[in-house]
Amino acid sequence: MPEISLNVNGEKMSVDADPSTPLLWILREKLGLTGPKFSCGIAVCGACMVHVDGKTVPSCNTPVSEVLGTEITTIEGLSENGDHPVQKAWIEEQVPQCGYCQSGQIMRAAELLANKPNPNRQEIFDHMKRVLCRCATYYRIVKAIEKAAKDGES
């Protein structure tokens, strides 16, 4: 099997894998980065969201061959000490319940605020619609995003 080099969370990593392998399995099972989660496997739930060059992609249906030479960031690499403004707002608003969807939610929200520091409700809905939460923590997700946006202003 070919050796594949990846740039994950600012580190060079290499794995033996078939180039068609979904990035999610490489991250989780080979590199031990289990923050991104498996849930649907067909790019409709967002639990597996990671940043590829700053943009969220569902890693469950992204072949690893497509991300060679990119900067990949998982929830583990979003901030040094779990203190990205979105993470801080998430803790303050006590968003997670079971927590399984939350790394996808946080990665997606971080992308939103990076591009739109002050989103309105509709923009939050449009952007966050990609990520499902079975515990239905949506009300607090909205509040946390609005809080992170507000904190970012000051």
């Binding site: 099972e29 989660k37 498996f38 583990e76 319940q97 449009d126 079975r134 515990c135 239905a136």
Partner: protein, 729 residues
Amino acid sequence: MSKEKKEKGTISRRGFLKAAGGVTFAVAAYALLPKIPFGEDAQASGDLVEQTVTAWVRIDTEGKVTIYNPAAEMGQGSMTALPLILAEEMDANWDDVVIEQSPIEPAIYGSVMFSNSRRMITVGSRAVSGYFDSLRTAGAQVRKMLVNSAAKEMGVPAGELSTEPGTVLHKSSGRKMTFGEIAGIMKVPETPPAVSPSELKDPKDFRLIGRVDIPRHDIPSKCDGSAKFAIDVRLPNMVYAVIARSPVHGAKPKLTNESVVGGMKGVIKTVALGHGVGVIAETIEDALAAKAAVKIDWSGGDSKGYNSQEWMWARKYASVASDPSKAGRAEENKGNADQALASASKKYSADFYNDHVVHAQMEPLNAVVSVAADGKSAEVWAGSQAPDGARTAAAAVLGFPRENVKFNQMYLGGGFGRRSTADYVEEAAELAKHVKRPLKLIWTREDDITYGMMRPASLQRMEAGLDASGKVTAWKHTIVGTGGGLMTSGADTQFYTFENQRIERRDIEHGIRTKHWRAVGHGPNKFAIETFVDEIAHGEKKDPYKFRRELMANFPRAIKVLDTAAEMSGWGKASPEGRAKGMAFAERSGSLCAGVVEISLEDYKIRVHKIWCALDAGIVVQPDNVKAQSEGSMLMALSTILHESITYKDGAVEQSNFDDYHLIRIDDTPELIDIKLIPSTEHPSGVGEAALPFMGGAVSNAVFALTGTRLRHMPFTRERVKATLEKSA
């Protein structure tokens, strides 16, 4: 309580240590092993009939207090709430508390729930209510031991001492000892002191219970990816397994291309199972590729021929409900409902339906099993609502005594009732027998949905008779569907009084798998009851709020909840143009909940703008978390009200993933969810489901208020709303 029973229930200190898994203590750390003799008082009050040990606290000389959490943590927050209850009575300083998951030993960490036996099972929103008394007693007992030891050390009577968080004080001399200091000198008595209920704190003195600013223990780890679910477990040399499961429940598999699959990259083995074919491979992607390639001949099947929508749309359930020869099981039979109905001066009747829904917890079912090299013991990692049952089940599959299986309880990526069955743990254990390596079994989302265990689809036939004064004298509720007792929870009207009442269940066997789904039958039943109540109120030209108030006249607690929701929502005042309000009331797991929703229709799509909710859950341990649970319950309810539908065709589920099984997404979030918790000193009741059941009625009643048309079949998808409104136009 007999002497003999007492002895049996007591676990000696040595026995306790052994049972608890041989936990070792750091040097200078001290163990407090509270034995909790439930005194005659507790027994006399009828809550508990067995004496046993339920909790465990460790204090080290630095003052660190380690408290075990015995419940599954699946997002409901029990792992914070339960230790907090103990810490309250112990007067621990919350900042000094460390929480650990308890070992899976029900004799010690179980709670008395359904029978008199102790069980470790997190279901029915019973964690806080089930453990409240025993954890308070355990905490008080630890406090007493600390005080007694300090008294001895200071040479003063224990009665002169008091506690502040983490400290024992002798007020008159100003001397004090921290819990850590006491831990260094104390001798744990062979028999711990008895604590009578009168020695517990007066709720007004609570320092921790009821605080809004104590965050949940598990949340930071769920914001940085470090929280570990079973699916995250990786072991050296581990293999991966998936199972191709029968599309029709009960069908038997025959793999027809074993040699092809066996020769695929990474495939280690295929395993014939009763309900499918397991594939074990070096990597998960290899296992999935092999699963996609298997060719299986299926034969038979219990659910073959089941077409779910026919039973509803073609009125097959309705004909069962109408057929007097099909009389079923009476769940309630008070007075004579039939007679009262026959002699009523006015009658109402209506049929309500709900489709199947599936748990679809975001973490697919999975388990890791590692059998020891000598083949005599094993370790299991799983997230389970019933870890003891899962441990026993794994042991049975592996052929070991239960003691030889170590069960590691992990965070649950959602439970909702699905994870109280151990099938996924048994499957992993079965497959692990075929390889001498640790094995991780993962269900795909397609497995989860097509091979799911469903909330029953059902018909609710409601009939009521009123006398000339407009009083409801007869109430009949007939439930038809598959799933037996799962269909009946919540059909009783605990807070509405009817002189003559019959609740009847007519079972139809469809051969599918059904299961408790958050709030169980309360979702469908309260939808039917609350819509029907609204319907009678309108028929009688009464305000639905006032009408409910009349029905619950005997229950001031319920009235208070209803009044609060009415007031919060400005009931009676007009909604903005294009919007309307609906109200409903429902009790669940001992909690009382009333809610009002304000909705509009956008091209037949129901939009919920605001929800006002009043909840009486007795003493509330963690108010912010109770609000979070309520928000989640309401929106999960909304998911089933607007979107979720599992349908069967010829016995097979027609949906397979989140692209065709639709869950609520963020854009259905209301602009306001306002929750008021009614202050109370009553025993805590369940909060994980309490705010779910009222939603169906509230939404359908709001749609009626807006359009004059009743919606009677959940989910109210855009298509169904359109069809119903166009038909009635």
